[in-house]
């Protein structure tokens, strides 16, 4: 693995952050690189192992330290789920009281029938009919938002929809980015009030942009899909995310909002945001 290539493509912010810590120790490592001498009180986190009294990286990435805990975080990795993450995924299969969800992760995720809040917050009943009507809730190909409930020892990810804020996603578009570009925030679901556009920043790198969901049952949003300016706003937000991803910049509610605002200030149409001149403007703005 060519480490310099890896670093070049890595999210700028992650590199910058890791450069600032603990000088003298390895910051960017490749598989098999030694990180530091293994001492008795070192905690070996994910992506490390001990060989001949040295702590060695098992993945390529940057070294992260929390007190004595040392972990190696991969860059451009496939998504590794953590409990509590908000994710967006696509239903691939139904059966055995569960939906299989593709999260673009290491392994497929499962959403159990019992882990789903029914539309409108209706109380679930434990009957056989429920199982037969699963397709009425989500069918194959549907896009859903969910939260990671648990990660099993063997790596299987269990999802759940904790409240009616989660569930079926429609009237919007999906943007795929690298999972490590999505910044961890307090809120991964947000609404840009000035555009009337909602986003769900899936920690797995799938970001949904569309008409914000309401808790109410039904498809009240259907009519709005004819509104051209709303559609353009959705496109603008989606483009902002794509641009940030291309520039390897961290994606957060704030950075998306800034990018969209910048494009409006410069009078750039959503369809032209991917062009070099806007990238340049964005770059200068960040610098």
């Amino acid at each position: 693995m060519k480490i310099h290539r890896l670093v070049e493509n890595a999210p700028r912010q992650i590199i910058a952050e890791s450069m600032s810590d603990a000088p003298g120790n390895a910051v960017c490592v490749s598989v098999g690189d030694s990180i530091e001498n293994f001492e008795e009180n070192t905690l070996r986190g994910h992506g490390t192992l001990v060989r001949d009294d040295t702590l060695v990286a098992t993945v390529c990435g940057v070294v992260e330290r929390v007190n004595k805990l040392i972990t190696v975080k991969t860059l451009h990795r496939r998504y590794g789920a953590e409990v509590g993450d908000v994710v967006v995924g696509r239903v691939t299969e139904i059966g055995g009281k569960r939906w299989r969800i593709d999260l673009q992760a290491k392994q497929e995720a499962q959403l159990m029938l019992s882990a789903v809040s029914l539309p409108g917050g209706i109380q679930r009943r434990r009957t056989a009919e429920d199982e037969l009507q699963m397709r009425e809730i989500f069918k194959e190909g549907d896009l859903v938002s969910a939260e990671v409930q648990a990660v099993h020892q063997d790596g299987v990810v269990l999802l759940h929809t904790r409240s009616t804020r989660y569930g079926l996603l429609k009237h919007g578009q999906l943007v795929e980015v690298s999972a490590c570009l999505v910044k961890r925030q307090r809120q991964h679901m947000a609404t840009f009030d000035e555009y009337g556009v909602g986003i769900i920043l899936g920690c797995n790198g799938l970001i949904w942009v569309g008409i914000p969901s309401t808790d109410a049952v039904g498809d009240s949003a259907d009519a709005d899909m004819d509104d051209a300016s709303l559609l353009e706003s959705i496109a603008r937000i989606a483009q902002s995310i794509k641009v940030l991803s291309r520039m390897q910049m961290m994606i957060s509610t704030e950075s998306i909002g800034q990018t969209a605002r910048l494009s409006l200030e410069h009078g750039i149409h959503a369809s032209e945001m991917g062009r070099g001149d806007f990238l340049k403007i964005l770059w200068q703005h960040k610098e």
Binding site: E40, L43, V86, A115, R125, R126, Q149, R186
Partner: protein
């Protein structure tokens, strides 16, 4: 008792239900001669839409989920109707009234409707027993506690409240399907430490969930129901009943007396005459009593009171009996005292032996030889048992089973026996009417009394229950009445914030802690107080308006000047009475003017500045206190001879003002330098020794002579500038201002009015000012009550988490916080700090367990245990980590005592845990723990240790150090064996 204003009849086929309305708007429901009270709280905004205030009628469209062979009581029927209607209900009734019927029906309903029901109880032991009871009745029942998990996918789940809370935080699927949560013993909500768990779980439960709360009688049930209705946006009913299936008779047994006195009869009437007879028979002479006790302690022939009483109970066939005492040790010693008693027949003895053999069969060879296990058989064979939390769990459960089977007829128990399962006796005895409560003895509260006495009287077996209260000290009738038939304790919130609460909420998308606080019962109660405060404010305001003063603004300016004068005068004195300046003048015999007893009251009555006459006294000597302290903290006290009120005596002297001095006698009084008003130029000669009455009389003569010679003007004063040599300019400026104010007061226009009206007007003004102040305070209270409770605490705790790196500045939780969220049995922050500083990584398996034991053991110990040599280093790091956290907390204004916090991690269990890890027998570690530590406490501690180790292992797996997690798993393997982890007899 209740006079129904109007009666309506609701025809329900075979039986009649009569519903009346009581004065305070509660519905009185009568069915077949029995009655109960009902009311309902609707969520705000819905009560005006014609929402019915009557209880829901029985549902005819569905088959009752459970039929009873007997006619159920009205309160049970109403509660069931409420649940069937899809509402929440709070049932407040005595322990023996049959609240279990409500829980049972809830289970049956869930099975009928394909929903799930959760039953929570405050104690693990209680959960085990309830599980067994429900399992026998319904089959599809599961159990989840910190120790065991059985059939977790069942429709009906029995669990501890802590488990329910963690399920809610994790969003377990159980929660999504749960239609009803039954909370048993909801009055645990007011538990200082754990009460918050009840509140959290109620608040976090999904909106669609309904509740059935079972509680002892509550005076403020309505408040609680309103809270539920508000937070869950659905009606909550309250069903009360005072009904006891078996009425109680309350007796007193005076210490050393010969018999018992009936003080409250089965109709709940208090009998004054026999109460005073009982109290009267208490021996007066405490010495004699002591003598008697000594004889008992030495094993004298005379029987102890308890012994006598038990013999009487057995003779009169009032057994089975529960004897409550408030200490574990006393339970044991009382049981030893009745060694001669044998209440079981030979068949019964055989049965006891069979049950005993079955129970100890689960134990290992070694454990069967434990002295506790061996010795208990002699006692239980005779039908005598002991029950307290210090017993080995298996023996405790054995006792419970035998008691339920009627094979234990005399049971010595602590208060814990009064909670939970229906285990009634015919008679209940209290050995003491007072209870030791954190530092002092107090009378048992009426709530506690009701709870414990509720064990008396077996439904269907006894026609009445007997309660006997042993008293050894005087008790006034009011206290007795209050205790024996008083109102139960109200339900109040003990909601507080915890770190796991913050972390768990911060990790959920879209949740915030403020919302949780906003929905807490504490906030509700706080806001509920507002109307009352506002009413109070309004009444004070109108009171204030009623005070009319002529020329108020003039009086006000006059009073303002007087106040200013007093403030300045005080400032002047403070500047003058500096020890450095005046100490040289405090020679013996110096005449000084001091404050007298009535000074405060007089100044509020004065209409002018010069009304403040002091009292002239002669200095005897003085002393400077606190010489080692800083200058500001030093105090000067002066012994003076002053004329005092003769009636008050020398112990509590009241100094008379100088005009009245001639009528008093001279006493030596100690005063503070602050109390000195002026110093005179005169020194008088006093007798050297003033300890006798005669010499003081000579002194008094001198003081009277002074008063006579100088009259009202008093002796000449020392000049501040020339004599005392004050140099500060401030002093002279103050004096000048005082003069100016004096002139302004003297020429004030109000003085032109009639002098007689001035005083009442001034007094009225002062009263008005006081009221104004009260209103300001009330306004503050109202504002506080309306604001978010615990707001400051929330801010401090968030700052602590930020500082220690658990959350970042945007409140996104870090790896550390994720690890902390796995821990709930011990101090999560200190444990996390220890993990992340790598302390565990270098420890051996047994050492890991030993170090963790410091987080479990909280029992008091007189002598600090020795820390094993190999553990000294790790223990020091633990204390370091604790200190670091306490410091961070105190920096964030949390008001923690750092040393106390650090000392709360006790090393007492370390040596014991190491031995246990090495495979020692329980007998061995019990002997290591010493006589003072009960076996049951050890068992509980090590079980909790296992629970905590499990959580830590999960936390380590989460952060990725599987190797270290294995160490913890190995530690669990080592400690999980033998009697400590013997399965419950109820499972």
């Amino acid at each position: 008792m209740h006079v129904p204003e109007k009666k309506r009849k609701r025809e329900t086929g075979e039986e009649d239900i009569v519903i009346g309305v009581e004065q305070n708007k509660k519905n009185v429901i009568e069915m077949q001669g029995k009655s109960c009270l009902h009311e309902v709280a609707w969520p705000p905004g819905k009560e005006h839409e014609g929402a019915p205030t009557l209880p829901p009628a029985e549902r005819k469209d569905v088959e009752p989920a459970r039929q009873y062979p007997f006619q159920i009581d009205p309160f049970q029927q109403i509660a069931i109707n409420c649940m069937e209607a899809g509402h929440s209900v709070l049932v407040a009734a005595h322990t023996s009234a049959g609240k279990t019927v409500v829980a049972e029906y809830a289970f049956a309903m869930a099975l009928r409707d394909g929903a799930r029901v959760v039953y929570t109880s405050p104690l693990k032991a209680l959960s085990n027993q309830k599980y067994r009871e429900f399992q026998e009745k319904f089959g599809d029942v599961g159990l989840i506690t910190g120790d065991v998990v059985i059939n977790p996918s069942a429709s009906c789940l029995v669990m501890t409240t802590e488990i329910l809370r963690s399920m809610l935080y994790r969003g377990s699927e159980v929660i999504r399907e749960v239609s009803l949560v039954v909370y048993d013993e909801i009055h645990y909500l007011r538990d200082k430490e754990r009460g918050v768990v009840w509140e959290e779980s109620i608040i976090l439960a999904p909106k669609s969930t309904r509740f059935a709360f079972l509680s002892a009688t509550l005076p403020n049930a309505r408040d609680f129901a309103e809270w539920i209705a508000t937070t869950h946006d659905s009606p909550c009913h309250v069903v009360y009943t005072d009904y006891r299936p078996t009425p109680l008779q309350h007796f007193l047994y005076p210490a050393g007396g010969e018999g018992i006195y009936l003080v409250v009869d089965e109709r709940n009437a208090f009998r004054e005459d026999s109460f005073s007879k009982a109290i009267g028979s208490l021996e007066e002479d405490p010495d004699e009593k002591k003598k008697k006790k000594k004889v008992n302690a030495n094993g004298g022939k005379e029987q102890s009171d308890v012994n006598k009483l038990i013999n009487m109970i057995v003779e009169k066939r009032l057994d089975p009996v529960i004897i409550f005492s408030f200490s574990k040790n006393e339970c044991e010693s009382l049981a030893d005292q009745v060694a001669a008693l044998d209440v079981n027949s030979s068949e019964e003895k055989e049965m006891v032996r069979a049950i005993y053999d079955g129970a100890v069969d689960v134990l290992s060879e070694n454990d069967r030889k434990l002295p506790e296990v061996v010795s208990i058989i002699k006692r239980i064979e005779r039908g005598i048992g002991v029950h307290h939390s210090g017993m080995l769990p298996i023996l405790k459960e054995l006792t419970e089973i035998l008691f339920q089977e009627g094979l234990i007829k005399v049971l010595f128990a602590t208060e814990t026996f009064s909670t939970g399962l229906n285990m009634p006796a015919k008679t209940v005895v209290f050995t003491h009417a007072r209870k030791f409560d954190g530092g002092s003895f107090r009378w048992i509260s009426s709530g506690e009394y009701t709870q414990m006495s509720g064990r008396a009287g077996r439904r269907g077996l006894d026609d009445k229950g007997t309660v006997i209260l042993m008293i050894d000290s005087k008790m006034d009738p009011a206290t007795a009445k209050d205790m024996l038939r008083g109102t139960p304790d109200p339900l109040y919130s003990e909601f507080h914030l915890t770190y796991p609460m913050l972390i768990n909420i911060l990790r959920v998308e879209g949740a915030n802690v403020e919302d949780l606080i906003q929905r807490s019962y504490r906030q509700f109660q706080s806001e509920k107080a507002i109307p009352m405060l506002e009413q109070k404010r309004a009444s004070i305001e109108s009171q204030m308006k009623d005070i009319v003063i002529d020329d108020e603004h003039l009086i006000q300016s006059y009073a303002g000047l007087l106040d200013q004068y007093h403030v300045l005068e005080k400032a002047r004195r403070d500047m003058l009475m500096r020890p450095k300046l005046v100490l040289p003048f405090l020679q013996p015999g110096r005449l000084i003017l001091i404050e007298h007893g009535g000074m405060q009251a007089e100044s509020s009555r004065s209409i002018n500045y010069d009304a403040r006459h002091g009292a002239w006294a002669a200095v005897i000597n003085f002393e400077v206190l606190g010489k080692k302290e800083k200058k500001e903290k030093r105090r000067v006290i002066i012994d003076v001879l002053a004329m005092c009120d003769e009636a008050r005596g020398p112990k509590d002297p009241r100094i008379l003002p100088s005009q009245e001095g001639a009528n008093g006698v001279a006493f030596v009084v100690t005063i503070d330098l602050d109390q000195v008003l002026e110093l005179s130029t005169i020194r008088v000669h006093l007798p050297a020794d003033l300890r006798t009455k005669e010499t003081r009389a000579v002194g008094a003569k001198v003081l009277k002579e002074v008063a006579k010679r100088f009259g009202t003007k008093g002796p000449p004063l020392l000049d501040a500038e020339k004599d005392i040599k004050v140099t500060s300019d401030d002093y002279f400026a103050t004096v000048a201002r005082l003069d100016k104010i004096k002139r302004m007061i003297d020429s004030h226009p109000v003085l032109e009015d009639e002098q007689g009206t001035l005083l009442p007007r001034l007094q009225a003004l002062r009263e008005k000012a006081d009221l104004k102040h009260t209103i300001r305070m009330l306004d503050k209270d109202i504002q506080k009550a309306g604001g978010l409770v615990l707001e400051e605490d929330l801010r401090s705790r968030t700052r602590v988490l930020e500082r220690l790196g658990y959350i970042d500045k945007d409140h996104v939780i870090s790896t550390k916080a994720k690890a902390a969220a796995e821990i709930s049995t011990g101090d999560e922050l200190v444990l996390c700090e220890l993990i992340f500083s790598g302390v565990f990584s270098s420890l051996k398996v047994d050492q890991v367990a030993a170090l963790i034991s410091c987080f479990i053991w909280r029992e008091k110990s007189e002598a600090r245990a020795k820390v094993p040599h190999e553990m000294e280093g790790p223990y020091a790091s633990l204390r370091d980590a604790a200190r670091r956290i306490a410091r961070a907390e105190s920096d964030c204004h949390m008001g923690v005592d750092v040393d106390e916090y650090v000392d709360s991690f006790k090393p007492d269990l370390m040596a014991i845990v190491i031995e246990w890890c090495h495979g020692a027998t329980f007998a061995h570690i019990a002997s290591l723990a010493g006589d003072k530590t009960h076996g049951g406490s050890l068992v509980r501690a090590i079980r909790r240790l296992e629970e905590l180790l499990r959580q830590l292992s999960a936390a380590l797996k989460l952060i990725g150090d599987v190797h270290l997690a294995e160490q913890f798993d190995k530690a669990i393997e080592k400690i999980k064996r033998d009697i400590i982890f013997a399965a419950s007899l109820f499972l």
